[in-house]
C-alpha cells in the first residue's frame, strides 16, 4: 500500500467524522461528495474500475443531488434567512441604537 493510498484512507476517516460533526447540512452534503470522489479513486487502486465509475456517478452525483433537493424542500438552503437578516438589519437601522436594550 502506497503512501497516497494511506493518505486517501485517512481522508475518508476525516470526512466521515466531519460529516457527523458539521452543523450546516449543506456543508455536510458537500463533504459527503468529497468522500465519494476519494472513494471512487480508491476503487480504482483496488482494481475495480466498474465500481469506481458507479461510485462517481451515483455517490458523488445523483445521491448528493437528491440530498440538495431535500434540503431545498425543507428550506435549509434558502434565501429566506437572508431576507430575514436583511429585514432585521433594516429594522435596527431604523430604530437607531434604541433596540440594543431588548437584544
Amino acid at each position: 500500500m502506497t503512501f497516497v493510498t494511506q493518505l486517501m484512507l485517512l481522508f475518508l476517516i476525516v470526512c466521515a467524522i466531519a460529516v457527523c460533526l458539521t452543523r450546516n447540512l449543506l456543508t455536510s452534503v458537500i463533504i459527503y461528495m468529497g468522500y465519494s470522489m476519494i472513494m471512487s479513486i480508491i476503487w480504482i487502486t483496488l482494481e475495480s474500475p466498474d465500481l469506481a465509475i458507479t461510485e462517481a456517478a451515483v455517490g458523488a452525483g445523483i445521491t448528493s443531488l437528491l440530498f440538495f433537493l431535500t434540503l431545498k424542500k425543507i428550506h435549509a438552503i434558502d434565501a429566506r434567512n437572508e431576507v430575514r437578516r436583511a429585514h432585521e438589519q433594516a429594522q435596527k437601522e431604523k430604530n437607531g441604537g434604541a433596540d440594543d436594550g431588548n437584544a
Binding site: L46, P49, D50, A52, I53, T54, A57, V58, G61, I62, L65, L66, L69, T70, K73, I74, H75, A76, R80, N81, V83, R84, H87
Partner: protein, 332 residues
C-alpha cells in the same frame, strides 16, 4: 425563565423546517387577504412584512408546544442516561467492527475464501461463454442476468411509488394555483427553474453534451471496458438533470414528457425480459442460441449483453431524471 442556547437554535430550526409551503403560494395567500400596504411601503416590502409576521406567530406556537413537551418528558437524569448510552453503543459498535476487520483475510491473498471454483470458472470460461471482454459485465448480464432484471424492476417500482406519492394531480387545487402563478410570473424560480444564471447556463451548455456522450459510450462499451448500463445510465441521468437545472422544465418538455418516460421504461423492461426469456429458454432446453457471440473485443459482440446494457441504461437514465423532476416540482 432562562431558556438554554440550544433551545433557541432548535426552535429556530423547527420553524424553518415546518414551513414547507411554496413561496409563490404564500404570495397568493397574502394577496387573497387583501391587506393594504402601510404608508411609504412598496408591495414587495408589504409581502415581506406579512410573511415575517406569520413566521413569528408560527415560531411562537412551536416554541410553546416544544416547551410543554420538553418540561413533561425530559429530565436531567434521562438526558444524562441518553448521552451515556449513545457513547456506549457507539464504542461497542466500533470495537465490534474493528475486531471483525482484524479477523478478515488480507486483501488479495491467494487463500482468500473468494478464490474458489466459482470465480475460477468465471475467469477461465467467462470470455468463451459470454463473449464479453469485461468479465464483470459478463457476470452481471449473463450468468446473473436474472438479478439485474430484478434490480431494474426495483428501480422502476421505486420511481412509480415516488410518482404515486408526490405527483400533483392535475385536477387538484394546488396544481391550478401553481399553474396560475406560473402564468403570472413565468420566470419565478420557486416553481420552475432556472434563475437565468449565466454561469450555470454556460457551464451546462458545454458540459451536457460531453456528459451524455460519455454516458452513451459507457453504456455501449459495457462489454468491452469498465462500466455498463447502470453507471452509464446514471451519468446520462445526471446530464439530463444538469440540463433541466440550467434551462428549465419548459425546455426539456420538448423531447421528454411523462408519456416518453412511461414508453421508454416500459419498452426497455419488456425488451430486457423478452431477450432474457429467450436465453433462459434456449439454455434450459439445450438449444443452441441463434444469436452469434461475435469476435471478442468488437463493438457488436457478446450476443444479448449489448441489448441488455442498452435497456438497463434507458431505465436508469429515465428513472434518475424522473426522481429529480418529481421531487423538484411534482411532475415528470
Amino acid at each position: 425563565m432562562a431558556t438554554p442556547e440550544w433551545f433557541g437554535k432548535f426552535k429556530h430550526r423547527m420553524a424553518e423546517i415546518v414551513e414547507t409551503e411554496n413561496d409563490v403560494l404564500e404570495r397568493d395567500m397574502v394577496r387573497s387577504q387583501e391587506i393594504e400596504p402601510e404608508k411609504g411601503e412598496t408591495e414587495e416590502e408589504m409581502y415581506r412584512r406579512i410573511r415575517l409576521e406569520q413566521e413569528k406567530q408560527e415560531e411562537e406556537e412551536i416554541a410553546k408546544r416544544l416547551h410543554e413537551w420538553n418540561s413533561r418528558n425530559v429530565s436531567k437524569v434521562s438526558r444524562g442516561v441518553y448521552c451515556a448510552l449513545c457513547v456506549l453503543i457507539c464504542v461497542t459498535m466500533i470495537a465490534l467492527l474493528m475486531y471483525t476487520v482484524t479477523t478478515l483475510p488480507s486483501f488479495g491473498s491467494p487463500d482468500h475464501p473468494i478464490n474458489n471454483e466459482v470465480s475460477a470458472r468465471y475467469i477461465e470460461k467467462g470470455l468463451q461463454e459470454t463473449g464479453a471482454v469485461n468479465i464483470v459485465t459478463g457476470m452481471i448480464l449473463d450468468y446473473r442476468a436474472f438479478d439485474t432484471l430484478g434490480e431494474s424492476t426495483v428501480l422502476f417500482t421505486a420511481a412509480m411509488v415516488v410518482l404515486f406519492l408526490l405527483r400533483l394531480d392535475s385536477g387538484s387545487e394546488k396544481y391550478s394555483q401553481l399553474a396560475r402563478s406560473m402564468k403570472e410570473a413565468p420566470h419565478a424560480d420557486n416553481f420552475y427553474e432556472p434563475r437565468h444564471d449565466a454561469i450555470l447556463q454556460m457551464t451546462a451548455k458545454i458540459l451536457t453534451p460531453i456528459i451524455i456522450l460519455l454516458g452513451i459510450y459507457v453504456v455501449l462499451n459495457g462489454h468491452l471496458s469498465p462500466g455498463g448500463g447502470f453507471s452509464g445510465g446514471a451519468i446520462m441521468g445526471a446530464g439530463l438533470i444538469i440540463y433541466v437545472t440550467a434551462f428549465g422544465f419548459a425546455d426539456i418538455r420538448r423531447f421528454f414528457t411523462y408519456k416518453t418516460y412511461q414508453r421508454v421504461v416500459l419498452c426497455a423492461l419488456l425488451t430486457y425480459a423478452a431477450s432474457k426469456c429467450y436465453s433462459f429458454y434456449t439454455g434450459a432446453n439445450g438449444i443452441h442460441s441463434i444469436i452469434p457471440l461475435g469476435t471478442p473485443g468488437a463493438i457488436l459482440s457478446s450476443g444479448l449483453i449489448l441489448v441488455l446494457n442498452i435497456c438497463v441504461g434507458f431505465i436508469v437514465t429515465c428513472t434518475m431524471y424522473a426522481f429529480y423532476a418529481v421531487f423538484r416540482k411534482g411532475e415528470v
